[in-house]
């Protein structure tokens, strides 16, 4: 019984939160890694792209709610999501046309593009703050729980409760659908394969008649979708504020680099590695251990390896260790 209680607590506080956080990071990291593979720079504006897409989606959600349109038990934001994606795609394509294309034609060094992306970051960040303000926004509606703690306790007779939130399930299901579609696209379609070819060997792709501008356009479209979906899922699960999203840049980069920059499969693995490490290091294990250990062996403290305020230290440490010992990442990434 105690073992089942411990397992329940483990699921409730570690495995479920880490899985949904990992899915969100993975989607974010996929965007970073695609840009790195195709456009060959680390995009510092990615967190703000996510913020912009989410802000748009929230605005449309509010509009729908004011019209009385909802999505039954599911969050209205899912209905608004396509509009957020379209708006973000327009912004990214516009940015590419006005800003990035010039440097691409010049074949500028990647580091210049990184600095350029810093400028874009300022603009997107300010735009988002201007549109929606700086404060926290909770925009999840619909049914909150699929199973709440009380129901679970009644069902199983266990002392420990397990709550499955609707947003966690939506996150994981959406992530699976998105990733499946993305891999189908990259591995099975002509355009997807041409993107992989371009990422693998740009010169040879040109020699084969692949149109670089088309590849870049498609990449930005996919990135817009990935970033908006990742941002909306994160915001549904937790909450939205421009600054939090800006800060997500670090764990997202860590995921992409740990998995191997430019490698989509790696980005997903990296997202889960980072998410699980963060949660495992910052979770207070007292509860789980309380069920497993006899009272005499029970430690006094919370058995928390690091305070939650230091969760970025976890992603950072993993990032540095991987960079030092396996610079191309766990899966083989590329180095430009």
């Amino acid at each position: 019984m105690d073992f089942l209680n411990a397992l329940t607590a483990l699921f409730n506080y570690v495995i479920i939160p880490a899985t949904s956080y990992g899915s969100q990071l993975a989607l974010g990291a996929l965007g970073v890694t695609l840009i790195y593979g195709i456009l060959r720079f680390s995009n510092f504006a990615h967190g703000d792209t996510m913020a912009f897409g989410t802000a748009l989606t929230i605005l449309v959600t509010w509009l729908f709610q004011s019209w009385g349109i909802t999505f039954g038990p599911l969050p209205t934001a899912l209905l608004a999501l396509p509009f957020g994606i379209i708006g973000t795609a327009a912004l990214l394509l516009g940015t590419d046309r006005v800003v990035y294309r010039f440097y691409r034609k010049q074949k500028a060094a990647p580091v210049i593009l990184v600095i350029v992306s810093m400028g874009v970051m300022f603009i997107m960040n300010g735009l988002t703050r201007f549109i929606i303000g700086v404060s926290d926004q909770n925009f999840a509606d619909g049914k909150r729980f699929i199973i709440n703690a009380l129901q679970y306790r009644k069902m199983t007779g266990l002392q420990e409760g397990l709550a499955i939130r609707t947003t966690s399930v939506i996150t994981v299901v959406t992530a699976i659908i998105v990733v499946t579609l993305l891999f189908w696209f990259l591995n099975r379609t002509r355009t997807g394969k041409s993107m992989r070819a371009f990422s693998d060997n740009e010169d040879l792709a040109l020699l084969s008649g692949i149109n670089p501008e088309r590849v870049v356009t498609v990449t930005w479209l996919i990135v817009a979708a990935l970033a908006t979906i990742a941002g909306v899922l994160y915001g549904l699960d937790k909450s939205f504020s421009p600054f939090t999203y800006f800060q997500l840049l670090l764990p997202i980069f860590a995921s992409a680099v740990v998995g191997g920059l430019g490698n989509p499969l790696g980005a997903i693995a990296g997202g889960f590695v980072i998410a699980f490490s963060e949660v495992i290091f910052t979770y207070a294990w007292k509860k789980v251990l309380g069920y497993l250990l006899p009272a005499s062996l029970m430690p006094d403290g919370l058995v928390q390896l690091l305070g939650t305020d230091y969760k970025y230290a976890v992603s950072f440490t993993i990032l540095v260790i991987v960079l030092l010992f396996r610079p191309t990442g766990l899966f083989k990434g590329k180095s430009v």
Partner: protein, 435 residues
């Protein structure tokens, strides 16, 4: 136009704009912005040393800046004997122990053969070390933080004179930079950027959460200043009251402006000293070698230059300069508010925009860029809402109009971004190009 005349024109222009602010808005505002500008100019100098001299991509600026502020607090605040009795030595001992464990893990890494055995023993050492560290550290932290928590609750300082802390602000930042450089400098440029971004966030997390160190988000107030007088004392001085009357302004405003000018003089002196040193170093054989390495790392390495060592030197020096700026910033405001550093856009990326605008590699350019961007940034707070109020005047009063005016100050972000992008695109060498 020769570069030096161009620089002169730029500086005269910047000076004029500050004067216009003084005449049209208020002198207090002009002096406030100038002081902010002088401090970020020192930061920009540090970033320019790293990026402009050596091509090192540091986006952990806010962290080094915060460390400089911490140094001021730790050096100049009065000692806290209560905290010392409660466990300061134990905290320091635990930290030392932690350092020894990390050192030991590194020794283990070098001594053992690569493989699972090494990974496991390093992991075990670190885990046991972390647990032991927490056993020593946590109770001590709790008891130190329990000492008069409303006013102190931290380990206090050494009570040394303030100028010492300017230097030690640099030293503390340099020490952190050295540790980072030792691990991360071999990395490719954008990896280094990501690594420094992480370091910056961690340093700020420490400053925000370790209350025993600097009271965290509870802030430390009434930090000393030197050699600048306090406004309240000035207002009581007969000669000053006469001076204010002869200017025809009230004593309070006069004291604010006067104190601001004193600060500006101090900061300008420090800036000029650092600028002179930076210029001299750039013209020395060391500086020439630095630039040679930046322009062609492979060739420099082939010629037997120790690239990694040079990079380490310039990274540490640049960070030290940022640390000095951090100490001055806390002295200016008399306040250590760690939470305010948690804004990389303002404390890291804005500095980058200044360096790029001014002209990477040119120290004078960085200073000019800093003074310009700071003005833009600070003015957005007063001018932004006014402009939006004007633009939205045809709109009926209502939620949307109010929202636009309320968020007008955020428009400074896109403006800085646009300036950065325009400079990169049309004048990549900046306002005052490198010679």
């Amino acid at each position: 136009m020769t570069p030096s005349i161009r620089a002169l024109v730029v500086f005269i222009g910047v000076g004029l704009v500050y004067l216009i602010v003084g005449f049209t808005q208020s002198w207090a505002l002009a002096v406030t912005i100038l002081n902010d500008g002088l401090i970020v100019a020192i930061m920009a100098l540090g970033v320019n040393m790293q990026w402009g001299y050596a091509g090192l991509f540091n986006v952990g600026v806010a962290g080094f800046f915060g460390l400089g502020g911490l140094a001021l607090v730790l050096i100049t605040n009065p000692p806290a004997p209560g905290a010392w009795a409660a466990g300061t030595p134990r905290i320091l001992g635990s930290l030392l122990f932690g350092a020894v464990v990390i050192w030991g893990a590194l020794r283990l890494y070098r001594a053992m053969e690569p493989g699972r055995k090494r990974a496991l023993s390093m992991g075990a050492l670190l885990l046991v070390g972390l647990i032991l560290f927490r056993m020593g550290y946590d109770p001590a932290v709790n008891s130190v933080e329990a000492v008069t928590p409303a006013s102190t609750g931290n380990i206090g300082g050494l009570g040394l004179p303030i100028p010492v802390s300017w230097l030690l602000g640099g030293v503390l930042a340099a020490g952190a930079a050295w540790a980072i450089a030792k691990t991360a400098l071999g990395l490719r440029s954008d990896y280094l950027a990501i690594a420094t971004l992480g370091i910056g966030q961690i340093v700020i997390a420490v400053l925000m959460n370790e209350d025993w160190l600097d009271r965290g988000v509870k802030n430390i107030i009434n930090i000393g200043r030197w050699p600048v007088p306090h406004e309240v004392n000035l207002q009581k001085q007969q000669w000053f009251i006469h001076l204010a009357q002869s200017w025809g302004i009230d004593v309070r405003t006069a004291s604010t402006v006067f104190v601001g000018i004193c600060f500006a003089v101090v900061f300008t002196c420090i800036l000029l000293v650092l600028l002179t040193l930076a210029e001299l170093s750039l013209k020395s054989p060391w500086g020439r070698m630095m630039r040679a390495i930046r322009d062609n790392e492979i060739a420099a390495e082939a010629m037997g230059k120790d690239v990694k060592r040079r990079h380490l030197q310039v990274f540490v020096l640049g960070s030290a300069v940022i640390g000095i700026a951090g100490a001055l910033y806390v002295m200016l405001h008399g306040l250590m508010a760690p939470q305010s550093y948690n804004d990389p856009l303002r404390y890291t990326f804005l500095i980058w925009a200044m360096v790029i605008l001014g002209g990477s590699g040119n120290n004078w350019g960085s200073v000019a860029g800093a003074l310009i961007v700071m003005l833009l940034w600070d003015e957005a707070e007063s001018v932004g809402p006014a402009i939006l109020g004007f633009l939205t005047s045809p709109l009926p009063a209502g939620l949307i109009k109010q929202h636009l005016i309320d968020n007008a100050v955020q428009m400074r972000l896109p403006v800085v971004g646009a300036v950065l992008l325009l400079v990169l695109r049309f004048s990549p060498k900046g306002l005052i190009p490198e010679k």
